[in-house]
Symmetry: C2
């Protein structure tokens, strides 16, 4: 098939009518011959352009229809579902409407001795031509290869999804994750993403193994299907993508905690599913019986999982931190938002490449890079660059996502190696239902034991219902369709994606009202307060585990001040004996920018009392404050620990409620001259 969008047009990359013919202008003897090759190359280039054009027109049509839907507030069909429908229609046209034979690239066979080389040099009447390996073709399909040229053109290299289309989608997810509610539910989200995905993968894998056994008994299975294949299917299909559900949540302003749980879970479980699938693939028992259980291979797989995951995580976090540092030190970049945006884009892309170059997973690294960028770098960017970077990645994400969904629709008809097995498909639907149930309900029960603010039954049902499968499941399934089992898995995944996107996407609005889930919620507003301040503080403490609290205070006191202009000055958070170091690491801007940045950062709503506490040992008097708070003044360095705790509670929503419940956001009336650094 066609490599990436325009360039890798395989042979004859010279798009132009006669550019290459000129190259051979020297020898007139071979001119005719070259002309023929040239014409083939040109024809191939033209077909590539047409096939890309098809996708672009599909996307254009999708956009115009979405607009119509949004305009009329139609909610039963999301843009991704629509893109799939258009893709299906075009797929049918291409499959049954185009001539099915094309003679011109007749394959040539020649026997080679040992194993395939990546590069071939072929001697054609004294001239040498270079060929590159494209992949293996199963003997039964050789004759297919010759058939429909147009169908081959619209079939992309599966790695296009991983290297071009998924990174912007995943990065955007990470970059837009900066929500107070996400961090408030971090523990639950991590549990759902890691434990939940593993449980779901294992249960689906085992159920499918049962289905496969059954199929073998009934005689429905005409190829090999191992236990590892079943587990791989479990990993592939465990990647949820509630893009439709979240779009509706956003539109209806549904409950923010539920939104955070669903969004956080789906974002992180994509990462888990990718790494899980590569660890399952890495499970290769040695010795004679290669498909029995092998402890060494199992632990190797676990090691691979941990290694790839932590490596990718580190890679993403490190690039994010480096970008934050660059934007921290090169503050004058603010005057050139173009340079700032370009830098941001390049650094984020380099995360992907760096991870791939080191053998980790680029997509996972990009996710954590996005989160880090949102948490640190975003605070250092100029106002203009903030909106530019957001808009840039929004457009890229939108285009990539709709492209993948149109491609899915198209692939149902144009993909040439489909194997639809009714038993397997029905089994898979049952398995994903059971897998999702076994993932949500028991985990929620366990989490509710530790949570003060319980995950209600309605929320659990909604999470159960929202287990859509989308772009990630598709990309994982199409990555390898070489064997019988993988082809069957791919076809089944495609059907599951269709079904869940259309049915679940369309059922979200009725489901929300049926489950009595609050809509029209102001994201800054917390559930109605029932207890007094000390009880709320208590609740927050119980909710967040000690590990998280430790991380939070470290982040708040050291990372934020070092990496951004928005944290408290280091001079207030470091012990007094570090005064000199702290003073060097703190830019004078921190003091100046603090207030301004706070105001821009919509996730942090401060009232004057909090700010005074944060500033610890500087003496500030809040003028004109209308709140009931007493300004705590002249605290020394020993207050550090309680500082971070109070900031934590504030960020977790204990303190900001008072501000919003009074209906106004108070802005601290600060005089600039009182903000000068009074470090010990």
């Amino acid at each position: 098939g066609l490599g990436p969008p325009p360039p890798a047009r395989g042979p004859g990359s010279r798009g132009h009518p006669g550019a290459a013919a000129a190259g051979g202008g020297g020898g007139s003897s071979s001119a005719m011959e070259e002309l023929a090759t040239e014409q083939e190359a040109e024809e191939s280039h033209r077909q590539d352009s047409v096939s890309l054009l098809t996708f672009i027109l599909l996307l254009t049509l999708t956009i115009l229809t979405i607009w119509l839907f949004k305009h009329r507030r139609v909610r039963f069909l999301h843009e991704t579902g629509l893109a799939m429908i258009y893709g299906l229609i075009v797929g049918v046209i291409l499959r049954y409407g185009t001539p099915s034979t094309s003679g011109h690239d007749k394959p040539f066979s020649c026997s080679q001795e040992d194993r395939p080389f990546t590069t071939l040099l072929v001697n054609v009447s004294g001239k040498f031509f270079e060929y590159t390996l494209k992949g293996e073709i199963s003997p039964g399909k050789i004759h297919n290869v010759e058939q429909n040229d147009m169908l081959r053109k619209v079939t992309f290299d599966p790695e296009v999804f991983f290297n071009i289309l998924l990174p912007p989608i995943i990065f955007h997810a990470g970059y837009s994750l900066k929500k107070r509610h996400f961090f408030r539910n971090l523990g639950s989200i991590l549990a759902y993403a890691f434990l939940g995905t593993a449980v779901s993968c294992f249960i689906i894998g085992n159920l499918m193994y049962g289905v496969v056994k059954l199929m073998k008994l009934v005689g429905q299975l005409s190829g090999k299907f191992y236990y590892t294949d079943c587990l791989l299917f479990g990993a592939i299909i465990s990647a949820t993508d509630p893009v439709t559900v979240l779009a509706i949540f956003n539109e209806l302003h549904a409950d923010v905690d539920l939104y955070a749980l669903l969004f956080g879970e789906s974002v992180l479980n994509d990462a888990v599913a990718i790494v899980l699938s590569s660890s399952i693939v890495a499970y290769q028992p040695t010795g004679e019986n290669t498909h029995a259980f092998d402890a060494a291979a199992f632990f190797k797989s676990v090691g691979v999982f941990l290694g790839i995951f932590s490596g990718s995580f580190m890679m993403g976090a490190v690039t994010g931190v480096v970008t934050a540092l660059i934007s921290f030190f090169f503050t004058k970049l603010h005057c050139f938002p173009l340079l700032e945006t370009a830098l941001f884009f390049l650094m984020s892309w380099s995360t992907f490449l760096l991870a791939e170059a080191c053998g980790f997973t680029g997509v996972v690294a990009v996710l954590f890079c996005g989160i880090t960028q949102a948490h640190y770098t975003y605070n250092n960017l100029s106002v203009e660059s903030r909106s530019r970077t957001k808009q840039l990645f929004e457009v890229l994400h939108f285009l990539a996502e709709n492209f993948i969904f149109s491609y899915m629709g198209l692939a149902l008809f144009t993909f040439q190696k489909h194997i639809f097995s009714p038993v397997f498909i029905i089994g898979a639907f049952v398995a994903i239902f059971l897998g999702r149930a076994a993932h949500i309900y028991p985990l929620s029960f366990l989490l509710n034991l530790g949570r003060r603010h319980k995950i209600s039954w309605n929320f659990q049902h909604m999470m159960m219902f929202s287990g859509l499968r989308g772009a990630m499941a598709f990309a994982l399934a199409i990555r390898d369709t070489a064997t019988y089992s993988h082809q069957m898995m791919f076809s089944t995944t495609l059907l599951i994606v269709f079904f869940t996107v259309w049915i679940v996407g369309g059922g979200t609005t009725p489901m929300l009202s049926w489950l009595n889930i609050r809509v029209g919620v102001d994201p800054d507003q917390d559930p109605p307060p029932t207890n007094d301040n000390s009880e709320r503080r208590n609740r927050t403490k119980q909710e967040s585990a000690w590990l998280f609290r430790l991380w939070y205070s470290f982040d708040h006191n050291y990372l934020k001040p070092i990496l951004t202009h928005s944290g408290p000055p280091l001079t207030t958070t470091l012990p007094s004996w570090c005064g000199l170091v702290a003073h060097c690491l703190t830019s004078p801007q921190v003091y100046d920018n603090q207030e301004q940045l706070r105001e821009e950062d919509s996730d942090f709503i401060l009232n004057d009392g909090d700010l005074t506490v944060t500033y610890g040992d500087t003496t500030i008097t809040a003028n004109g404050s209308s709140g009931p708070h007493t300004a705590t003044t002249s605290l020394d360095g020993r207050r550090t620990k309680s500082n971070s705790e109070e900031a934590l509670e504030r960020d977790l929503g204990a303190a900001d409620h008072e501000v919003t419940s009074r209906g106004t956001r108070l802005v601290f009336p600060l005089e600039d001259n009182t903000m000068s650094c009074l470090s010990p």
Copy 2:
């Protein structure tokens, strides 16, 4: 070389540690074999990531240094010059710092009968592998192919430039062309771009043919070099790219007319140079003596030029108009700037693909698409989308441009087929100097005969001096480097680009002051007025030819009202018997939006008198106007012609001077209810 950025990683596109190994999980016999192929593919993917990472780090470094330069107001080195220097340094490191042999992709030779196929099927111990044709390798270089893996990885497919990197650069040039001063100088710009480029190409081609003859006499020529090659070199090197000069002009606010002349010429002559080079390539005399003059072939070439140019032009204009119509009818898209931006991006990209699919030149089509989008579609976009589209293409243009310039620096050392011939290089420098002189001075003389507002000697010298060569010349030269003559041309082009970008770019500021060219000009301010209103009107009439006036009035009276919300209502511009048609085609929004859009459109500065005239047959009284104009009221449909003429003069800068010279921009105090349509 490596195809496009990430995807076309040639063989083994499966980036992942074991994804493909799983595909072969079925047969354990060939597992080892596959593992080896897999490792090679993985290694190749890793190297691709590293090579892309190299470019990204180069760009990052460039951005940080540019920032430093901008911050300190350094003007002697432009970002593109800087990108080249960093590219050179990395090129030296790669060339001399990396091990020069890699054994693993040992080429395999097998004799084939007739002519190369685009696809090869190779049978390796019973398995079939598909290979695709990459290109021809000259016999002497076979041994080079095996050598340095890293150098091959950083060598991109030349078509990447034409299909990925040039389109955003050229589109951005077209999209940012919307300047009143451009249209005021359109005649001169077209003359410079078409006649000038042809003259320059012909003169350089002939001079170089003389140089080649000389080299043959002296015995410096070791390969074939035909007259057509010389002409091709003339076409390649006639594409000017004064990006550096214009950046400095922008910064210093140099004379706007000179800016428009330089910018317009360079943008259009890129298009002319591309099409010219493909027509020269299409010049292939038939019969025995293939390199003598052949009238049939010559006229065929002229036909190719006209066909490709007009076809590409049409394609770009049509897509632009379609986009304008979509944005005209789907006005509610305003509420969804994301959809609007995505649509705009997709439609602009589809121009490129459509042109390529039809056998025209995508890059040229994209240029005219950009101009059309700026002229029509831009007026229909929401305020948010205007800035979004501008910013999106600004970032893409910035990244692509700096990427090309770093690549140029790199290519000086990593490109493996350089042929540096001192005589040819010196000859080329002399030829481009003479070619530029023969292009600027005589043409300016001829143009000055017709222009009232002469192009002064200083301007001519500055235009002569600003003939930089940049991205387009490089992309044209690298497109085909198969033969001896083309390799020599490529190496020479590279040196010319380096020299002109560094020397001319650095010399712009001194040159401006030496030539006494005005800086610090307000773009809305015209040269100091010396004559009264009627004389000015006279001048405008003389300056713009009848053809242009015809086009302008057609555009103003019919196209703008049909395609945008910013023209006068059709009901006022169409004759009265078309009233019904006009009424149908005119959206009510035109009346509402008119004033608002006028204000946003910085290129149109209106005073009340003009607006009244434009509205022709509606009765409007200008309240509170402070100008000396009498409001002309109650004009009927017969005023159409003079309406467009007055609008033309206004746009061409005859009328707006009065407003700006009074120091304020008058806003028409309009009451909404008087704006209802009073069509006959």
